[in-house]
């Protein structure tokens, strides 16, 4: 039976979901800058003295794999993904 919940979810997909995705995207952009500043040496960018990076590492370790994948998909790490034109 078609309950209320699937309809709510469908309506959310039509309306608010895009804002959620974009807010997540904006957050990721900021976090990406933070990651480059702290552990950028993992993708070849010289950064903070390792002692500070090491102190931050426990907080970042869960994000590292996703972040490296994201960086690998970009042509240049400082460019926003729009220019990679993932639409085509």
């Amino acid at each position: 039976m078609l309950g209320l919940k699937p309809i709510q979810q469908f309506w959310y997909g039509l309306t608010g979901y895009e804002f959620t995705r974009h807010a997540l995207d904006m957050r990721r952009e900021l976090e990406g800058i933070f990651m480059v500043l702290t552990v950028g040496d993992m993708v070849g960018v010289p950064v903070l003295p390792p002692v500070y990076a090491l102190r931050l590492l426990p907080y970042l370790v869960l994000e590292v794999a996703q972040w490296k994948r994201e960086m690998a998909r970009r042509k240049e790490f400082w460019e926003k993904k729009e220019y990679d034109f993932q639409g085509v």
Partner: protein
Amino acid sequence: MNSLFAVILGIVTVYLAYTRYARRIDRSVIQSDPRRATPATLYMDGVDFMPTNRNILFGYHFKSIAAAGPIVGAIVAATLWGWLPALIWLVVGVSFMGWASDYSAIVLSVRNEGNSLSAVAHRLISPRTRTVLFLFIFFYLLLIAGAFVGIMASVLESQPRTHLGMILLVAMGLLLGQMLYRWRSGLLAATILTVGITLLAILIGPLTEGTFKGLNEMLNGITGGAPIVTYFDPTLASFKGAEAKIMPSLLFWALAICVFCYAGSVLPIWRMAQPVVYVGFWVTALAMILGLAGAALGTFVKPEVAQFRIPAFKGWNPQLGPAGVMPLWPMLFVTIACGAISGWHALFGTVGTARQIENEADMLPVGAGSMFAEFLLGLLALLAVSVGAKGSPVAAFANGLGGFISVWGIPLDYASSLAFAAFIVIVLVVTQLIFRVMRVTLTEWLGEVVPVFRNQHVASFISVALAILLVLTGTWIYLWQLFGAANQLMAALSLLLVTIWLASVGKAWLYAGLPMIFMYVTTVGSVVVTAYNLYFNVYRPNVAAGRLLPAAGSGLMVLVSVLLVMAALLIGLDGWRAFLKYLGRPAPAPGPAPARG
């Protein structure tokens, strides 16, 4: 014929095509496996690759593919050939081709690590296919941008009652972006405020008609009532062709639209493009829901608004202009694109939706389900124009939809105002996104070779200037058909890729291959017909009259037609070679599918 029968026919079509055909292909050919890990689960990054609930994704995908296409296409086709051929093509197209194209593009991407069409083409066909696809996509976007700006400028100029609503739509979009992303307001409160004010402005639009009419007259007074550009329009005078004029007021509204689109293209997406689309969505959704339900109920409540008034069939080859030809085949099949089959859906499905598929069992309800919902939107547009039947094609649509909405007790004047606004809103918000994608495509395509194209203002300005040039030719119906052809060619190319992929993995490919052959031949044929019409009906008369701008615009369209045909032939040739290669020697079967962990 009345609207109730058409609505019932639509629902029966969706039920039969989904349960009897689409589901069978999903089970027996694609063999979707809920236990197989999808790219969303394998490469989750929290945003692009993100496992998402199927109902949410259905809404998201439908909203992303539903735009002005199904509406404008149905309006033009019903005007040219009558409602019956349009209805038959909508039903047959979506049942055997449309869902297959949308669904298969998502399958292709899900089974190829979330790759886009061009990336799969690069791997399966040849590297140059990707470059040709870029060229193809840019011109495809240029054509639709030109067609939409032309349609909107003429509607805005002739309907001053819609102006207040449109101005408030943009203002409310900007306010919504500010509220959500800067002031951190709740979505519900922000929606009630911004959508409420926009709707109010649309509904009281008829009260401000005099003011905006005065503005148009003042603008036209600048040249003393003389036109800025004169051109030959083969669609005027009941398609016999006549001299048409671009008045200062029309140019003003075309430029206003371009300024709006330019801003939407260069500002951060949260600032303008996204919130304006959101506010516009509510206006359109309201009109469409009231309209579709009104179309079903109208037969009982208000029979006069539900009766078809245009002829069922107007002929196989209506005369369009003094030298024009408009044969039902192939032109009907490109005039109605999105409600039957569309390349845009496949393009978006591979990169937007496929990367969020949580479970392979969701591919069918999301991909095919959204296409069937889009078909119902196209059907509503066809019904509206068929019962409207007064004035220009767009006015007929708005009058028809207004009639359906008036079933709910809203006075006809206000209901028509809402219908006009819904049409303009859906076209306007899509156009700004088109310019944005055009700018990005131009950057991606030429930015490596000519660095100045990496500047967003340069890329946006070039896109807008080319679209304005096309508008000045005035022949938006040809532009629409050329766009439709490019769009349908994209669908054929997507089906070609799916066919090659199916052959490469040793699966039955006929369900995608047969629609691909039909669409490929049909659309290449339609581009040739349109190029012929443009050359003899528009370019030559304008050159003979020494009109520089319309001649340049129509000349550009002829050139684009030739480039589209060449691009299609190149991709078709490469695709055929790849298909033969894989047909004789299927690629080695992939290793066991990764199971979801």
